[in-house]
């Protein structure tokens, strides 16, 4: 079996948002929407901090679809539009999506974004990977782990390729020899909202 995932090394993440824009570019994500966001933990401002000056910490937390093994979004989807594919990815069949947004409400990670209106993409709308399908008004979208790139044989999702700090590791959790499996085996791993039982494949190295 194959279980594709991304690990984020939190000690290396400098919160630069390059992953967010690399993803937006490659996946033709419309104006005002991101599949991958960089949060600053415990702060509601960009580059904020936890604590009181000068006793401060800051953790950047890049957040996208966690590609859960037990995906809450998939369970509530009434049409089967959201599915778990043979490579362990949570994907959306856009043609089947009826825009009910049950998945959006179910996802504890707030990873999904919805086309409330006809998407706009500024003065150069046709950006992105040529194989990424178009999405129109009323359709849900989110990180696909760059399905189209990977399925035609490219090595890494765009966010991983572009990360300036090399904080992101992509690979197959079912391959014990992969770098990502070895990272997970160290045990120095943080899973987001583990108590929800969603079993995210995406994980964070502390």
């Amino acid at each position: 079996m194959t279980k594709l995932a991304i690990a984020v090394k939190l000690d290396r993440c400098v919160g630069c948002h390059t992953c967010s824009l690399a993803c937006k570019m490659s996946n033709n994500v419309p104006d005002g929407m991101l599949w991958n966001r960089v949060l600053t933990e415990g702060s509601d401002v960009v580059d904020g901090a936890q604590g009181v000056y000068p006793n401060l910490t800051r953790t950047y937390l890049p957040l996208a679809c966690q590609h859960c093994e037990n995906a809450a979004c998939q369970k509530v989807c009434p049409t089967g539009a959201t599915y778990k594919d043979e490579n362990g990815r949570v994907e959306i069949n856009y043609d089947k999506c009826i825009g009910c947004r049950m998945c959006m409400a179910a996802c504890p990670y707030n990873a999904r974004v919805f086309n409330w209106n006809e998407p706009s993409r500024g003065g150069n709308p046709a950006y992105g990977d040529k194989e990424v399908p178009a999405r129109g008004k009323g359709v849900m979208e989110k990180c696909t782990l760059c399905k189209e790139r990977i399925d035609r044989g490219e090595a890494e999702p765009m966010c991983v390729e572009c990360c300036p700090a090399r904080a992101r590791v992509y690979g197959d959790l079912d391959d014990p020899e992969s770098e990502i499996s070895k990272l997970k085996a160290t045990g120095n791993v943080r899973i987001l909202l583990e108590e929800r039982g969603t079993h995210p494949q995406v994980f964070y190295v502390q």
Binding site: D11, R12, V14, G15, C16, H17, T18, S20, L21, A22, K24, M25, S26, N28, D31, G32, L34, V38, S43, D44, V45, V46, D47, G48, A49, Q50, G51, V52, Y53, P54, L56, T57, R58, P119, R121, G122, G123, N124, P125, A126, Y127, G128, D129, K130, E131, A134, M158, E161, C162, P164, A165, R166
Partner: protein, 803 residues
């Protein structure tokens, strides 16, 4: 709409048709030559023509990433790091690079040449579209008129670091600006005379890859993980190799948050910290006596009466030196191991602590003078000034002295305070005392991005005729705007809002000029003050297949055409040629941009580079590794310095009139703790760099705007009782001006300070330009410094209230 304007070239179209076996056909071309086609959303990509082309991105973050660009139907659709780079460290892009996919087509572009509407004032921002032909005819005529009346150097040509108009000043015989207008030279003013290198910008360090060899990496004023984002890997490699990375920063910056330790400091007091550390190093005997004796000016004798270094007789110049116009430096005097007073280059072991009488002059060593001048600068004193605990200062001093230590300065922080040169000078002294230079893991200066302190390629360049030379560049903008030497301006980049503090004065000056021409791909604040705005291309656009070569991350990068010029923009190469035609000197310039690029390679003095060709670069994926990059670049490894003595010179007798021969503590001009002005204006306004901008660039990149728009960041403690909440609009003010901007309430900001990222111009704040607030003070010793007076942007106090 013309074919060029639609982004679809004849060449692409034919290639596309062939690839799609006619499927695209005329229907495809038709859709791309209409406005509807231009704005059509992405739907069917399948039959589109697609190819890859490489260019390089901005240089002014110190990076210049080589970018692999995907072009579909003549439009830029994706940007990736260029995977042809020889080392994965140089396969880089950041959020600014990626944002270009939208940005170069964005609302911020100047779309056609513009002329100020007759009867409107400069700054009113009223323009009409004109043709390039009309614009250039009128501009050249008016420049000739101004130069005829006031002399050639009454025209100021200012080209920013990203510009490609290097011949413009020489073509017109125009004047330039001196010493980068005081920007980024604050610390270098104090550090660089000691090493004889650094070019005034403190660029005397080894490469960041050398940090893995350091026990301590001490960063002061360099938010490396943001401002040198694409060399961040080196930061983590060093940390993972066991280097302790200490960030001294008033604010909990990104780099502070990733460092091994953050030491918060009162803004503008870096010199006091270093002076305190020096005293501790002296007290504990942690000095490197051998390095000091043999490779620094500490043993040099100083005339106690005048403060001047004693010099011997200069040797007679050699034939070569006479031909080159070089006067040999006079050697300095020392007391040697036998107690004799000799020339410094004749002593085997010059004494550090000695006195002598030379020709009746009572003399003592630089080291003795340092011991004397340091007496006031105890660690207890330094703790009081900097707000850093005394024990921490002592611990840091011991760690630094133990070494090997890299001391990374920067162009943020104390570099933008009026006392910046004192901090640079103190840094030179602590480095020379401990020998933390010229060995693996030890260095000093700005450890910034890939094209600034890696290996240089020594590219050649096109030579203009000998009589075609630019005029003087002897005045900074602060001096120019207070004089009447300039009557016309031709600027590529933002001169009005970006370059000079106290923008109100610049505005008044601009209003009184006879002509203002601005060339820029984007409509910056500057453009509002122009008579003519010329739309030039970004580095993604070209009207030839190849445009230029340049030094990037330890590699040569080739600039290919990615897309045709967008809107009515033209390359700066084309613009200069068209101006040259009107001046009757077209033959002085190369026939094509590609010829310019070929010449840059073929005229290199280095055989490694002059055998390179555009074809070879292209075959290799548009990059070529610099020679020797297998090992990190290191400097001064033979312990000789390009100074008058060949030693590291820490005693500046050229500053005797200002009592700064050795670094003497001086408070900031305005932003010091006890300034009574703080009652009205309690907050220091730090003017810093960020990953979201390169200076004034990317304000208008809408993808970046989705993440960040200008704010003033303030600690919640400074907002108590003011009724101001996060996201509120506030008025920020001082005697120089005021602006309105949203507030960001952020614990990362030092209480007593506020932080804005530079170049928050009025289209992106709620109201007004942040440069209206900044301090344009000129220190009395400014003119005596290597690079003239620093522009003390952050030596600024402001008040803040709810708007």
């Amino acid at each position: 709409m013309s074919m060029a304007k639609s982004g679809l070239t004849r060449r692409n179209f034919l290639k596309g048709s062939a690839m799609a076996a006619g499927a695209l056909g005329l229907a495809g071309a038709g859709s791309m030559t209409s406005a509807e086609g231009w704005l059509a959303p992405a739907t069917a990509h399948a039959e589109a023509e697609e190819h890859v082309a490489c260019t390089y991105h901005q240089s002014h973050c110190g990076s210049r990433c080589s970018l692999k660009c995907t072009v579909r139907d003549g439009r830029l659709v994706m940007i990736q790091p260029n995977d042809a780079a020889s080392d994965q460290r140089y396969r880089t892009v950041c959020l600014k690079g990626i944002s270009e996919v939208e940005h170069i087509y964005g609302a911020g572009r100047v779309q056609t040449p513009l002329k100020r509407v007759e009867g409107s004032e400069r700054g009113e921002n009223k323009f009409e579209a004109i043709t390039w032909e009309q614009a250039l005819d009128e501009i050249v005529d008016k420049i000739k008129e101004v130069q005829g009346a006031h002399g050639k150097d009454s025209l100021l040509v200012k080209t920013c670091a990203e510009a490609d108009s290097g011949w413009l000043a020489a073509m017109f015989g125009a004047r330039g600006c001196a010493f980068n207008n005081g920007i980024d030279i604050g610390v270098g003013n104090g550090l660089d005379p000691s090493t004889g290198t650094g070019w005034g910008y403190a660029m005397s360090s080894q490469e960041t890859r050398d940090w893995v060899n350091s026990r301590l990496v001490l960063l002061m004023g360099s938010n490396h993980c943001e401002s040198s984002l694409t060399t961040t890997q080196a930061f983590f490699e060093a940390k993972e190799a066991g280097a302790k990375i200490v960030m001294v920063d008033p604010h909990f910056s990104t780099t502070a948050s990733k460092a091994s330790e953050w030491i918060p400091i009162e803004p503008g007091t870096d010199a006091a910290l270093i002076l305190g550390m020096i005293s501790h190093i002296l007290d504990k005997g942690l000095i490197d006596k051998e390095f000091m004796s043999l490779h620094t000016s500490f043993p040099f004798l100083v005339d106690k009466a005048t403060g001047a270094l004693l010099r011997g007789e200069a040797p007679k110049p050699t034939k070569e030196e006479i031909e080159a116009g070089i006067e040999p430096a006079a050697p300095f005097m020392v007391v040697d191991e036998n107690g004799r007073t000799v020339l410094h280059n004749e002593a085997k072991a010059p004494k550090l602590e000695a006195t002598a009488t030379v020709d009746g002059k009572k003399a003592t060593t630089v080291y003795n003078l340092l011991l004397e001048s340091q007496k006031d600068y105890t660690t207890e004193w330094a703790a009081g000034i900097t707000g850093i605990p005394q024990a921490k200062i002592e611990e840091l001093a011991e760690l630094y002295a133990q070494g090997p230590s890299s001391l990374g300065t920067g162009w943020g922080g104390n570099d933008k305070i009026a006392n910046a040169d004192v901090s640079g000078h103190a840094i030179a002294v602590i480095c020379a005392l401990t020998g933390n230079i010229g060995k693996p893991g030890a260095g000093v200066g700005c450890y910034v991005g890939g094209n600034y302190n890696g290996y240089g390629a020594g590219l050649g360049g096109w030579a203009l005729p000998e009589d075609m030379v630019a005029g003087p560049a002897d005045l900074q903008m602060r001096e120019i705007r207070e004089s009447d030497v300039v009557h016309a301006v031709f600027s590529v980049g933002d001169l009005v809002a970006q370059q000079t503090p106290a923008m109100g004065k610049t505005e008044e000056w601009v209003k009184g000029l006879d002509l203002v021409v601005i060339a820029d791909p984007y409509f910056t604040e500057n453009c509002k003050w122009a008579d003519y705005v010329l739309p030039v291309c970004t580095r993604f656009e070209c009207d030839e297949d190849y445009s230029n070569v340049a030094q990037g991350h330890n590699q040569i990068c080739l600039q290919e055409k990615v897309v045709d010029p967008i809107f009515e923009s033209k390359t700066e190469f084309w613009m200069q040629k068209e101006i040259a035609k009107r001046l009757g000197c077209e033959s002085a310039l190369p026939a094509s941009a590609m010829e310019r690029a070929e010449i840059a390679l073929s005229t290199s003095a280095d055989p490694y580079y002059n055998k390179l060709t555009i074809e070879k670069l292209k075959e290799n994926g548009c990059v070529w590794p610099n020679e020797g990059i297998e090992e990190p670049k290191m400097v001064f490894m033979d312990k000789t310095f390009p100074t008058a003595s060949g030693n590291m010179e820490v005693y500046y007798d050229f500053l005797t009139d200002f009592d700064q021969q050795l670094p003497k503590w001086e408070e900031p001009n305005e932003a010091y703790a006890g300034n009574p002005l703080r009652e009205q204006y309690p907050l220091q306004l730090a003017n810093t760099r960020t990953r979201f901008r390169i200076h004034s660039q990317f304000n208008d990149a809408s993808w970046i705007q989705e993440i960040y728009s200008p704010v003033i960041a303030v600690n919640p403690a400074d907002l108590e009782g003011k009724g101001i909440a996060n996201g509120d609009t506030v008025r920020v003010f001082n005697d120089r001006g005021e602006i309105k901007v949203k507030v960001q309430v952020n614990e990362s900001i030092r209480p007593g300070s506020a932080r804005m990222y530079e170049a928050a111009t009025s289209d992106f704040t709620v109201e007004g330009n942040m440069q209206a607030l900044t301090n344009d003070f000129v220190p009395p010793r400014g003119a005596a410094l290597m690079m003239g007076p620093v522009a003390p942007f952050s030596d600024t106090l402001v008040g803040i209230e709810k708007a």
